[in-house]
Symmetry: D4
C-alpha cells in the first residue's frame, strides 16, 4: 500500500534506510538482535552494494550470524564485540579513549570501540582500570588527557566515570553495563550512579549500549580535528 | 585534624576546590542548593578573588541568594536560570544550540545555556519546538545543523531528542525535565525515553541537570573550533 | 458443583463465554498463551460451531498451534500476527490506520490489524515510520487524516504517538511494545512515554497489546460510518 | 533570534499555538499548572480574541486564577473541575458518558466532562457507582449503552473500567486517579490495574488526566453522529 | 555442631519441624520448590510416619515429584494444584468458598482449595466468575454468603475481590496471581489493586500464594463452627 | 440526572450508602481524608439519624474535625486513632488482639482497635513488643493464644507478624505502617516483608490501613463465638 | 492491661527499654523523629537518672528539641549532627575513621561520629574527600589504614566506598545519603551503588543512617583493642 | 597498548591482580560467574603459583568447573557453597557465627562460611533457625554471644537479623537471599527489610552475597583477637 521511497530499499522483511549518511554524516548500521542470520546477510549485502566505498556495521550478532557474514560476504568479524563490518574503515580523525572497569565489561567496550572506528575516529582502548585498584587508572592519566572524547564503561556500582571525570576535562560518555547480580537490577544501579555523577559533564547512554556511546564519541572526536 | 592543602581554601563551612580549572580546564562552580545566601556570597567572593579574570558560576539560587549576590558582589543574575555569574564571561569558541520543548522546560534550558557560556562556548537558544507541533522544529533545521553540539531539553514523554537526533548528525546531549505529573514520575518517564532513543548517539544527563549538559556541550563545542 | 449456565459452554478445561457477542457486539476471541494446541483447536471449533456465520479470532499462538488450527480446522493463519481466524471476516465499516515505528514492532501491529478486521473495521497498515526518519511519516499525513481511528505502535522511547497526535486530530490509541533492552524495562519506558504524551487525546493500552488496541479502534471506526 | 511564525502568538512568557484548531479540529487549551493567574488571564484573553466564536478551555486553575478569569474576562468557572471556559460552548454532537467511582474522583470526572463539552460532544455524568456497590452501576446500564463513548474514572484499585467494559461494548477510556494512600503509589496501582483490564478494548490515560480522556472521547463521540 | 532437638528430625538435607502441629494446630507441610523428587519423598515419608493419623501436604511439586510420591508412598496427587497429600484428610469444619476469576488462575485456586481441606475446613470451589462477565458472579451470591471465609483468586487487574467484598460481609482473603503480561509486572498489578480495594476488610497474600490464603481461611472457617 | 435510590441518601456533596449494614452486616463508616470538618459532621449526623441504635465510625479526622464532631454531635473522640464514633458501641463478641511493634505504630494500632470495637468484637491491645526485644513478646504468648484473631502492626522491617505467626495458630492480619525513612520507601519495605512472611497464614492489608485490618479481624472474631 | 516489666520504664507516651545495655553492651538511645521536644526531654531525663554514669544519645532532634535539652537538662548539643548527649562520654577504645564525600553529607557523617563516641570508640573525621578530586583522598591513606573500622558517607553516585575499599583492608560500613536530585531517587542510587561495590567486604546501612553505621563501627573498633 | 604492570599478571583473557594481598591483607579470589571452566582452572593455577603458601578462593563455580579444579589442580571443592579453594587455609583467628534461616538459604551461608575461613577467621555454622520457630534460635544464644562477628542469612521477609540483633550486641552483617517468589522481587523484599532493621548496628550486603559478608566478618573477627 505504501508508495516507494527513493530514500529506502525494501527487502520485504525490512525497509533499509539508505539515506542516513547524507542526513547525519554517519554510516549505515544493522542492529542484529531479533534478526535471522539470513536477514543480517541480506541487509549487509544491500547496504554494502549501495555504498561499497565505506564500511557498514552490524551489531549484536550471534555466533551463527557472525560466521555467515564472514563466509558469505567476507565481512570482518569482531568476536568480542559480537559485531562485524563490511567495507573499508574510514581514515581515523581524532581519538576516542574507550576505558573499561572489569573483564566482564569488555564486550560492551569492544562494541563501543568498533563503533568509534566505523564512525570515523581512532580508538585507544584502556581496560581493567576499575576503581578498586586505582593505581592502574592513575598510571594512564596521560592517555586520558590525550583523547578527544572518552567512553567509560562499567557495571556493578558504576563508579569509574566519576573518578575519570574528576581527573581530566575531556568530554565523557558513560556506559553502564548489566554486569552484576541482585541489587544491580540488570544494570540499573550502574545507570543511576552514572546519572548522579559528582563529576560535571558526564553524559550517559542506555545499559550495554556501547554502540550509542561510540557514535556520540566519534562525532565529537571527528570534529575536534580540523580537516 | 586534616593537613592544609594548597589546592583548596577552607571557609569553615566548605572547602573550596580552587584547583579544578588547572585539572580540567573548566571554571569554578557553586551548587547553591542547601546553602544559605550568606554561604553562597562568601564562596563566590572567595573564588572570584582567586581568579578575577574569569567568570565563576553559581546555580540553583533562590530569590534571596540571587538578590544578595547582585547587591553585595555585583554579580550578574539570570532569573530564569536561577543562577548568577561573577567575573567576565570567556570569549565564545564554537556554538551550542540549546533546544527546548515547552515553556515549562525553560528554566532548565536557561541553566544549560548559561553553563555553556561560562564554560567557554556560544549559545543559540531555540525554544518551544515540542514534537506535537513539528512545523516549528522543521523550520530551524539549519540552526541545528550549524551548531557544534546540541543540548535538547524536554519533559513529559521526552520525545524531542529522538526527533532532533534523526534530523541532524551533530553531537547531542538530552536533558529530561521534571515537568509532568502522575506517570511522569518526577521526570523518570522522560529520562527513560531519552535513554532508549532510537536515534543513535543521543547521550543523557540527570533530570533537570541543565548545568551538566551545558558543561559537556561546551567542552565539545570549544574543541571543535581551532584556536 | 456450579449450575449449568446457558450463556457458557463447558469444555472441561475451560468455560467458553458464548454470550459476549450479544452483550458487547464483538466476536469471540481465544487468548492462546498458556493453552495447549489441542485446547486451542477445541475452543476454536466450539465457538465456530455456535456462530459459523462470523469469524472467531485466536491470538498468541505458537508455531504448532497455528499449524494445527490450519490443518484441522482450515483456519486462516497470520504468521506475523501469530494469530488465526476461523469463519468469514465481517464487511469492513470505517478504517483504522495501524501505524508502526520499526521492523521489530511489526508482530504487534499485525495483531492489531487482524483484531481490527475481525471486529468489523478496515485497515490501512503504515509501517517503518519511526520518528528518527520523519520524512516517511510526513509523507503519509493524508492517510493518517483519512482514517477514522489510529493505532500507533512503537517500542524503545515510544515517541511516535506524540508526533502523530500532533499532526492530526483523529482518535488515537497508542501501543507500547517490549522492543528494546536495558532501561527499556521490557516496554515500561515506552508505556510511560505514551501516558505522558504532550499531544492531547492519546490513550494507551498494555505493552504488546495489539489486540486490545485493535478492539478499541474498531469500535470507534465502525460507529463513525453510518450503516 | 527565532523568526516570527504566523501560526503562533508570542506573549513574551509563552508562544501561543493559534493554529491547532486548523490542524486537529480541536479548540485551544491552556494548561494552568505552573502559570501565574496573570499569565492565565493573558493567554485566555489572547486566544479568545483570535477565535471569539468558540470556547477556549483553561484547566488546573487554583482558586485565585479562577476568581480572576471570572472577574476580568467574564469566563465561566467550574470549581469542581478547577477549570474555566471563555466563549460559547459548541453545539454537542454525540454523547460521552463520564462515569466515576467515588466522591473523591469527582474533580477528575468534572475535568473530563468539561473537556468533552468544549471539544464538541455532550455529556451524561454518572457518579458514585464504585464496584463495592454494584447495584448502582447495574441500574444505569441503559445509560452506558446509550453513550457513544465512555470515560470511566476511578482511583484506589481501579476496577471500575473492567466491570463497565464487561457490561457494554461502547468505546471506553479509563482514567486512574491519585485517590488512595500507601500502596496506591499516587495512582500507579489504579493505572496498572486499568492497563491489565480483562475487558477488551479498554484504553487508558495518565493519572488524573481527565482532560486527555475527555479529548479522546469527544473526538470519538463527535464522529459517531453524522452531521 | 548443633545440639539435637526433640522438636525436629534431621534428614541430613533438612531439619523437619515435627512440632508445628502442637504449636499452631496445623498439619506439617512440605514446600517442594527447589527440592529434588527424592527429597520430597523422604520428607513426606518421615512426616507421615510421625503422624500417620493425619494428612501431610506437599506443594509446588513438578511432574516427576508428583509421580514419585504417588508411586512410592501412595500419596494422593492433585495435578491442577501441583500438590499431593499423604494420610487421611481431616473431617471438614466450616466452609471456605474458593472463588477464581479466569481459567489461568485455576492452579492457584486449586492449591488454595487443597490447603483448606488439609487444614481442616470444607471447600466450595467457584470458578470462572471474572468481573468482565458479572452475571456469573451475581448468580452465586448465595454460595458466597453461605461460606465462613472466602478466598478470592485473580490475576491481571485483580478486581474480583473488590466486587465480591462489596456483595457480602464474609471474611475475605485475596490472592493475586501472576497471570498477565507487560504492565502486570508478574502479578504486582493485581497485588497492588487488591491492597487498595475499596471494599473494607479485604486482606491479601503474596502473588500465587494459594497455600497461604488457604491456611488463613481454614483457620477462620474451623473456628466459626462450634465443635 | 440520576434516579433517586432508596439505598442511598444524597447530601449534595456525597451520596451516603445507608444500605451497607443490610448487605454485609457491618456499620457505616466515614473516611474523613479529603473531607471538610463540616462535611464530616453532616455525614455522621445523617448516618446516625438513620441508625441511632448502633455506632457510626469516622476515621482519618484532623484536629478540627475531631473537635467539631465532639462539640456539635457529642461524638466520642479517640485522639490517638484520629477517629470518632457516634452511637452506642455493640456488645463485643469474640476478642481481637491488636499487637504493635513500636511507639510510632500506635496510631495505626489504635485505629485498628477502634474499628474492631465498632464492628462488634472486643479488643486486647498489646503494644511495644517489637522483635528487637523478644522478651516482651514471649511474655504475652498466652494473650495471643487466647484471641480469636490477631492484628499485628509494624513499620520499618515489618518482622513482627512472622514472629507472632510462628508462635500461635490464630488467624493473623498484618498491617505495615509508614514508620521509617530512606529505604523503608514509605512503608513498602514492611509491606513486602509481610507478604513474604515465612509463617503460614499471614494475610496483609495496605500500609497504615488499621481500619481494614480491624474490619477483617472483627468479622473473624464475631463469628468465632456462637450467639 | 499489660503487666509491669522491670526491664522497661513506662512514661505513659513510651515504654523506655532500660535493659538494653545489659543485653547488648550498648548505651540507651532516643530516636527523636516524631517525638515532641517535651517527650525527648522526659525520656532523656529518665534514662539519665537510671544510668547517670554513662552517656545517653538523642538523634534527629529539631532546633527546639536541641535548645530544650540543653537548657533543661544541660545536655551537650551537636548542631551539625542534630543530636545531643547527656552524661559522660565513655573512654574511647579503638578508632573509627568517618569519611565523607561532600559538604552536604556532613550532617550524616557527624551523626555517625557522635554515635561512635557514645558507643565507646574514638573518631577520626575526614571530610570533603569525594571521588571527583582523588588527590585529597590519596593524601589521607595513612589515616584510613590506621583506623580499626571505617564509616564512609556519600550521596549522589555513592562511589566513595568502592574507592576507599580498594585502598585499604579495614572493615568498612558505607552510608548512602539522600543528597542529590532527580534520578538519585532520594538516595536509592547511592544505596544501590554501595550494595554493588566491586571492593570486597563493603557493608551498607539505610539511607542517612549515620547512627546505625556508627553503632556497627564502634562495636568493631572497641573489640579490636584489648582491654 | 597498555604498559606491563608488575602488580598484575596478564593471562590474555584476564589481568590477574596479584598485589591485592599486600594492599588489603586479603587473599586472591576468583569470581567464577561468566568464566569458562578452563579459564577458572588457569586463573586459580596462576594465583596459586604466585602464593603457594596460602589459599586462593574461587566462587560461583558450576558443576563442571568444580569437577575440573578438583581433577586438574587438586583443589578442595565445597559443593554446597559452589566454591573451591586451592592451597592451605590460614590458621583461624577469632570466630564468625554464620547463622541462616531456612534450608534454601544454605548455599549462601556456605559461601559466607568458606569466605570467612579463607580470609583467616574460624566459623560456627548455625542453620535452620528461622523466626517462625523461635525456640531454636533462643537455644543458641550462647553461641551467638561467643562469636566475634555474626553473618545472618535469610530470604523471604528477611526478619532474622532484626531478631538476632535484638538478642546480642556482636557486630552483625546481614545477607538477604533470593529465596522466595512473587513479591519477594528476587530478594529485594529481604534486602529492604534488613536495611530497615529496628535493631541498631545491622549492616547489609548485596542479595546472595555470602562472599562479601564473609570478607567483612572475617576482617572484624581477625582483628578482635590479639596476635
Amino acid at each position: 500500500m505504501d508508495q516507494p521511497d527513493p530514500r529506502t530499499t525494501d527487502l520485504g522483511f525490512a525497509r533499509v534506510d539508505v539515506d542516513r549518511a547524507r542526513r547525519t554524516g554517519d554510516p549505515e548500521v544493522v542492529y542484529g538482535a531479533g534478526k535471522t542470520p539470513a536477514q543480517v546477510v541480506e541487509i549487509l549485502r544491500t547496504l554494502h552494494q549501495r555504498h561499497p566505498e565505506r564500511a557498514v556495521l552490524a551489531t549484536r550478532l550471534d555466533d551463527e550470524a557472525r560466521a555467515r557474514v564472514a563466509a558469505e560476504l567476507g565481512a570482518h568479524v569482531d568476536d568480542q564485540a559480537r559485531a562485524a563490518t563490511l567495507g573499508p574503515l574510514p581514515h581515523p580523525r581524532g581519538t576516542v579513549a574507550v576505558v573499561s572497569a572489569g573483564t566482564s565489561d569488555l564486550p560492551v567496550a569492544a562494541e563501543a570501540a568498533l563503533a568509534v572506528r566505523v564512525h570515523g575516529a581512532g580508538v585507544d582502548l584502556i581496560t581493567d582500570v576499575g576503581v578498586a585498584g586505582l593505581h592502574r587508572l592513575l598510571g594512564v592519566t596521560d592517555r586520558l588527557e590525550a583523547a578527544d572524547c572518552l567512553v567509560v564503561v562499567a557495571g556493578m556500582e558504576g563508579a569509574l566515570p566519576s573518578v575519570v571525570g574528576g581527573l581530566v576535562g575531556v568530554p565523557l560518555v558513560a556506559v553502564p553495563t548489566s554486569v552484576g547480580y541482585g541489587a544491580s537490577l540488570g544494570g540499573l544501579a550502574a545507570l543511576l550512579a552514572m546519572l548522579n555523577s559528582c563529576a560535571p559533564g558526564v553524559s550517559v547512554v542506555n545499559i550495554d549500549n556501547g554502540y550509542g556511546a561510540g557514535v556520540h564519541a566519534a562525532r565529537v572526536a571527528r570534529q575536534s580535528v580540523p580537516r
